[in-house]
């Protein structure tokens, strides 16, 4: 009836109520909306980031019988269900065949390939795009390796084909972008090598036109590549996609094809992230909404209390409690309801902003059912709060309502507060105690702050009383007045609790956001290895090293890393690094190990024995040789008696400096007990070799035990009549499995003297340029045992000794890795097995910036390289993970916390400034200086608030320490890269300072305002 007047009279209060409700409504709406949008974004981002895993790559097996019609790629298309076709990219069709050259001594293999529109995907540097059958484009790398040029022809025979065919080279291409979606991971390799280096010889792809495959000349694999479209595939499509993938894999087999898609795994991962988004985000928002509801309740309590006189009048005039409460409920419920409902459009606006920034339009605009449900729920709860608060006051007796001041309830130490403290502590304990990684831990800081804040607030009242009495005795008026106000106005407990919770939310938000970001960055760093990674196509370590030395000899921008993988996934892979440049270039490279570790890792600085020659000549003799019998363990059958030893054979292991190949030179037999004999063995070392090992073996079948010395007086090459063989201690025996009774050792003497005990197996000494047992840093996940080995470039095992000096996770290859020195690896040598060896250049930030010029320079050196990984990309990608997006909300929470705390402060001031101003005016008229009352007015709130901020901030930091280990920062729990959850003190201190500044500024302003209004005229106001 008088609603309009009532609302207009206290419009500012209505506005405050509506404002708080708006915040609550916005949170309630935004939470589920954002969660849904994040889930959609995760779908988009995952499909985008894991293009290859998500792709469908259909490939037929070649038909056995060439008379059968080979399947056409178009025949694979029906495997994509029609209803899902819009979700997939336009399929890329292809046919390829592996062709063996004919008319060459050594085997050479080329892959002949047609792909839809392939000419657009390479740079044609000469000639033209093939159009007719059997026309091909050849790679520029093949020009340097093979001299293939336009106009030439290549003769070859397809797999299982009956007769050879002729391919005509009509042009030359250079690979453009191997990572382009078009290639689906199978771009031109950018490398080729002659069979002299490694057999069979290989060319890069030969690109042809489709008619080439029209006949049955070339056997063929047909391929169809497609992938789900990020941004088109939505949450609701995932189930269908998954079942369609499984179904297509079954159907493909009927067509003689395979679908190698890992899409079901990708979908699994999306589901996992979904679950995170669905729990963390609503919880974070619920936290704000709950805090908002608490503040709403506080505000309502104050507002309702202020209406006591009016309620009294209504009751005085005979309105029943019911009717009075109805009127007031409508008056207060209206702004609350309007505010809450307005939260829907505001939440939507917020979503639109967030969608276009954080989510990069990765989510469609939709209305999940949870949004209206949350809005209705929160509106009902907010109205419930109104009803409860109104009822509490209206039910009072009229006589109580009539009293100007509510009967002092100070002594009844708030049972409600006590309950809240108990509940908060209980909740905290369950959040911490439960081993769940679920959503509860997010609440820990708020609960902690609530418990601590309320406890502190209740201690504050008596404490302030105590201080005020002391201050009064000592005549310190400002302090006394300020503390008196605190101790006599229990509203301060609400302020302190609310401010503590707000500060805690802010501090926690800061920790969660900064620690989360820090971990995403460090994890991205470790996973990338450095700021950026170039993958280099190379076949020879020497050429690779030469190339990078030409580009950056001083290692200002890059460090080389070579990885060789073992055949078994359970065995160690070798990660070869250059310790000095790794330390400065790799991500936290200096933390991989300490200085001693790097020193131990590095190759020994021993002068290598190098030469160029076509043969090796050794002058050697034996000392007295005694016959020995093998030791037989007690009870074992003694072996068959062997005839006496006939001779020994010396062997030399040399590493070709150009190809890295490790060649064995076996000299003719050295007769026993004869004068020095000159022995020769041929060796192709025109480009230079390095002596790695010397060995003693025996003629075939000669297994008679012998023991004695072998003197190598001279070893000569074409360019050096006498190679310097170094000191005897530089020759270390290598343990060969099974040679348990054979012995060899270098000992002092002229030239090089070897003490040998032989039962027929070969004994080898390795020169100290490479340790016989290589020191390595071993990934902690690997169960170390001393017999572990790691593959060299050619896959031969390298014996290892473990350096217990690993300082952190191993960059990029944290699992099953043995980190050894690259130079050591080179010295051990071996022909590079391209299938299992990867050449990488790790770049620092400057290197990434110069990546293009580095790639260009490498190309000039004949090395094709491409940037395959960047830390910033990974950071960005992690930044769009569900967990990161969820944690990104925490700053929003912090700001909401501040806003609500300020609302609480304003409320208390709005409701109490008049009486406080009157109090101060009353004192001033008796002669108390305005400066004194001013100080009291300013600090009576600023003091407790500053303390509450400090307390809350500490709770937030402690809460973060409790909560962060339990909050999933990444989709894959655990992982080889340990989390770094230390407190981010700069952020904590900064936020504490900002919180203090913001809230103290508010209270100081308000206090100053109160004091300014404490004019003498204020006393007269009391009269009316």
């Amino acid at each position: 009836m008088f609603l309009r007047q009532a609302l207009r009279y206290r419009w500012s209060q209505a506005l405050v109520l509506a404002g708080i409700s708006l915040l609550i409504g916005t949170c309630a709406v935004f939470g589920p909306w954002f969660a849904r949008a994040v889930q959609q974004t995760v779908v988009t981002e995952t499909l985008h980031g894991q293009r290859l895993s998500a792709a469908w790559q259909l490939e037929t097996r070649p038909v056995r019988n060439l008379s059968d019609e080979p399947p056409k790629p178009e025949q694979l298309q029906p495997l994509i269900p029609a209803d899902l076709a819009p979700l997939f990219t336009k399929p890329v069709l292809g046919i390829h065949s592996d062709v063996s050259w004919t008319g060459t001594e050594d085997p050479i293999v080329s892959r002949l390939l047609w792909r839809d529109g392939v000419c657009d995907q390479v740079v044609i540097v000469a000639g033209r795009c093939p159009a007719a059958a059997n026309e091909v484009l050849a790679s520029t790398v093949d020009q340097s390796t093979w001299g293939i040029e336009p106009g030439q022809t290549i003769r070859g025979i397809g797999e299982g084909a009956a007769q050879p065919g002729v391919l005509k080279v009509v042009g030359q291409y250079r690979p453009k972008d191997g990572t382009a979606d078009y290639w689906f991971g199978r771009p031109p390799t950018g490398r080729s090598h002659p069979p002299t280096d490694k057999s069979p010889g290989e060319t890069d792809l030969l690109l042809t036109a489709r008619p080439t495959f029209a006949g049955d000349l070339w056997s063929q694999h047909t391929t169809l590549d497609t992938r789900p479209l990020p941004g088109v595939v939505r949450l609701d499509d995932l189930d269908r996609l998954e079942s369609a993938t499984t179904a297509s894999q079954g159907k493909a087999i009927e067509l003689g094809a395979d679908n190698t898609s890992a899409l079901p795994g990708v979908i699994d991962q999306i589901r996992h992230e979904r679950a995170q988004a669905a729990t963390i985000i609503p919880l974070v928002m619920v936290q704000v909404a709950l805090f908002g509801l608490v503040v709403l309740a506080l505000a309502l309590a104050v507002v309702v209390d202020q209406r006591r006189p009016e309620l009294a009048v209504a009751r005085l005039r005979g309105s029943t409690a019911r009717r009075t409460s109805k009127t007031l409920t409508v008056e207060l419920g209206l702004p609350v309801l309007i505010g809450t409902l307005l939260g829907a459009p505001l939440g939507f606006a917020l979503l639109l902003i967030v969608r276009s920034t954080w989510l990069r339009h990765g989510a469609p605009i939709e209305l999940p059912w949870s949004v209206p449900v949350a809005l209705v729920a929160v509106a009902v709860v907010a109205l419930g709060v109104v009803v409860l608060q109104v009822r509490g006051v209206v039910r009072l007796q009229i006589a109580t309502l009539l009293r100007r001041v509510a009967p002092s309830r100070r002594r009844a130490i708030g049972v409600i507060d006590l309950c809240i403290i108990v509940f908060a502590v209980a909740g905290l304990l369950s959040a911490v105690g439960g081993s769940n990684r679920g959503p509860l831990p997010v609440l820990a800081p708020a609960l902690l702050a609530l418990a601590a804040g309320l406890t502190f607030a209740h201690l504050l009242l008596p404490l302030a009383g105590l201080i005020s009495r002391r201050a009064l005795r000592r005549g310190r008026l400002s302090l006394a007045l300020g503390t008196l106000q605190i101790s006599r106005r229990p509203a301060v407990t609400r302020i302190v609790a609310a401010v503590a919770v707000a500060a805690s939310l802010v501090a926690f938000a800061g920790q969660a956001a900064s620690v989360g970001e820090h971990n995403r960055e460090s994890r991205a760093g470790y996973e990338t290895g450095a700021e950026g990674v170039l993958k280099v196509e190379a076949s020879y370590v020497a050429r690779f090293m030469h190339g990078i030395n030409e580009v950056d000899r001083d290692r200002r921008w890059l460090t080389p890393v070579l990885i060789t993988r073992p055949p078994s996934p359970d065995a160690l892979q070798t990660v070869m690094i250059e310790p000095d440049s790794f330390r400065t270039i790799a991500y936290r490279g200096d933390q991989l190990t300490d200085l001693d570790g790097f020193r131990d890792l590095s190759a020994p600085s021993v002068e290598p024995i190098e030469f160029s020659t076509r043969q090796l000549t050794v002058t050697a003799s034996t000392g007295p040789i005694e016959k020995v019998a093998p030791e037989v363990p007690a009870g074992a059958t003694p072996p068959v008696e062997q005839p006496p030893a006939k001779s020994i054979r010396l062997t030399a292991y040399v590493v070709d400096l150009r190809t890295g190949a490790r060649n064995v030179v076996t000299f003719p037999p050295l007769p026993l007990g004869k004068p020095p004999t000159v022995l020769r063995a041929p060796l192709d070392c025109r480009d230079g070799c390095r002596l790695l090992r010397l060995g003693v073996s025996r003629e075939l079948g000669d297994q008679g035990g012998l023991r004695g010395d072998v003197h190598i007086e001279k070893l000569s090459a074409d360019d050096q009549p006498a190679l310097k063989l170094g000191r005897p201690e530089d020759w270390r025996p290598m343990q060969e499995p099974g040679s348990n009774q054979d012995r060899i050792a270098a000992k002092p003497g002229a030239g090089l003297t070897l003490a040998v005990t032989s039962f027929g197996a070969e004994q080898v000494l390795q020169y100290a340029t490479a340790p016989a047992v290589v020191p390595a840093l071993i990934a902690p996940d690997y169960r170390w045992d001393p017999s572990a080995t790691t593959p060299a470039f050619d896959g031969t095992p390298i014996a290892l000794t473990k350096l217990d000096r690993l300082g952190g996770p191993i960059n990029r290859f944290p699992l099953h890795s043995a980190v050894i020195d690259l130079e050591t690896g080179r010295r051990i040598g071996g022909t590079v097995d391209e299938a299992s060896t990867q050449f990488e250049l790790w770049l620092n930030a400057e290197g990434v910036a110069k990546a293009d010029s580095i790639i260009a320079k490498l190309r000039a050196e004949g090395l094709s390289a491409q940037l395959i990984d960047q830390r910033t990309d990974r950071i960005a990608s992690y930044g769009r993970s569900a967990s990161a997006l969820a944690l990104q909300l925490t700053p929003v929470v912090g700001i909401a916390g501040w806003a609500l705390a300020i609302v609480v402060l304003l409320l208390t001031v709005v409701t109490s400034w008049r009486s406080r101003a009157q109090d101060y005016a009353s004192l001033r008229i008796t002669g108390v200086p305005a400066a004194t009352t001013g100080r009291a007015a300013r600090w009576e709130q600023t003091g407790p608030v500053a303390l509450a901020v400090l307390l809350g901030s500490m709770c937030g930091v402690v809460g973060a320490q409790i909560a962060l280990p339990l909050i999933p920062l990444f989709a894959d729990a655990g992982g080889p890269i340990p989390l770094e959850l230390e407190v981010n003190w700069p952020v904590a201190v900064l936020l504490w300072a900002v919180s203090t500044a913001v809230l103290a500024a508010v209270t100081l302003l308000l206090g100053t305002g109160v004091n300014r209004r404490a004019g003498f005229a204020r006393i007269r106001e009391e009269l009316t």
């Binding site: 009064l472 008026l477 006394a480 009157q918 004192l923 008229i925 008796t926 200086p929 003498f1016």
Partner: protein, 213 residues
């Protein structure tokens, strides 16, 4: 000795006091009466320095009163209408705080004595808001007494008191005069005015009638 010389008080366009000239010697009691809005309070406030006169001047013992701070420093005590107590403080604290500001020695004795004089020795530790209107008024009087002013200005200090307490307060104010203070009582109660040594009647801010000392 209070000398009010041609004092006018204006609130914006409203004139509360117009050219009032009065003098109250030490040891004497002046009653100022008149209807509500006649300017009694404003005159007292002008003497207390709580409101600046638009014209004229006030002097206490020859010192010109320019502000409340100057007045307070010269022992001008105002017992404001509606008592003007700090509600968040206890009765005793209301007395203590101004005395601390004045650095009064032997504070406790003075306060206890003042509270006892108004019959509220027992109620000293009650919050002001817990006291009845009459009790609050007596606390305000006690606060004035404790300040031992050279000038005591009591503005309607008996309005909410019953007969006995009214007599008590009037006697206490008289005692202040006997101690040597110049006392001014603003009242709308003619019986109170009759007990004073002199009686000034204000009407619409002007001194309309005066019974001199």
């Amino acid at each position: 000795m209070i000398a009010v010389d041609g004092v006018s008080v204006r609130y914006g366009a409203v004139t509360a006091v117009e050219s009032v000239t009065l003098a109250v010697p030490a040891g004497r009691v002046l009653a100022v009466s008149g209807p509500s809005g006649a300017g009694k309070s404003s005159l007292l406030w002008a003497i207390a320095g709580a409101v600046a006169p638009a014209a004229g001047q006030v002097a206490v013992d020859g010192v010109q009163i320019g502000s409340r701070a100057v007045a307070a420093a010269h022992g001008v005590v105002l017992i404001p209408q509606g008592n003007g107590l700090a509600r968040v403080l206890t009765a005793r604290e209301n007395l203590v705080v101004p005395l601390i500001a004045e650095r009064t020695p032997d504070l406790d004795t003075v306060v206890t004595q003042a509270l006892t004089q108004v019959g509220l020795a027992e109620s000293g530790d009650h919050l002001v808001e817990e006291l009845s209107g009459g009790e609050q008024q007596r606390v305000a009087v006690a606060r004035g007494l404790a300040q031992r002013g050279r000038v005591v200005l009591a503005d309607e200090s008996t309005s909410e008191l019953d007969g006995a307490n009214r007599e008590l307060v009037l006697a206490l104010l008289r005692a202040e005069a006997d101690r040597g203070a110049a006392v001014v009582i603003a009242t709308h109660d003619p019986t109170v005015a009759e007990t004073a040594d002199a009686h000034a009647l204000l009407d619409e801010g002007r001194l309309s009638w005066l019974r001199p000392f």
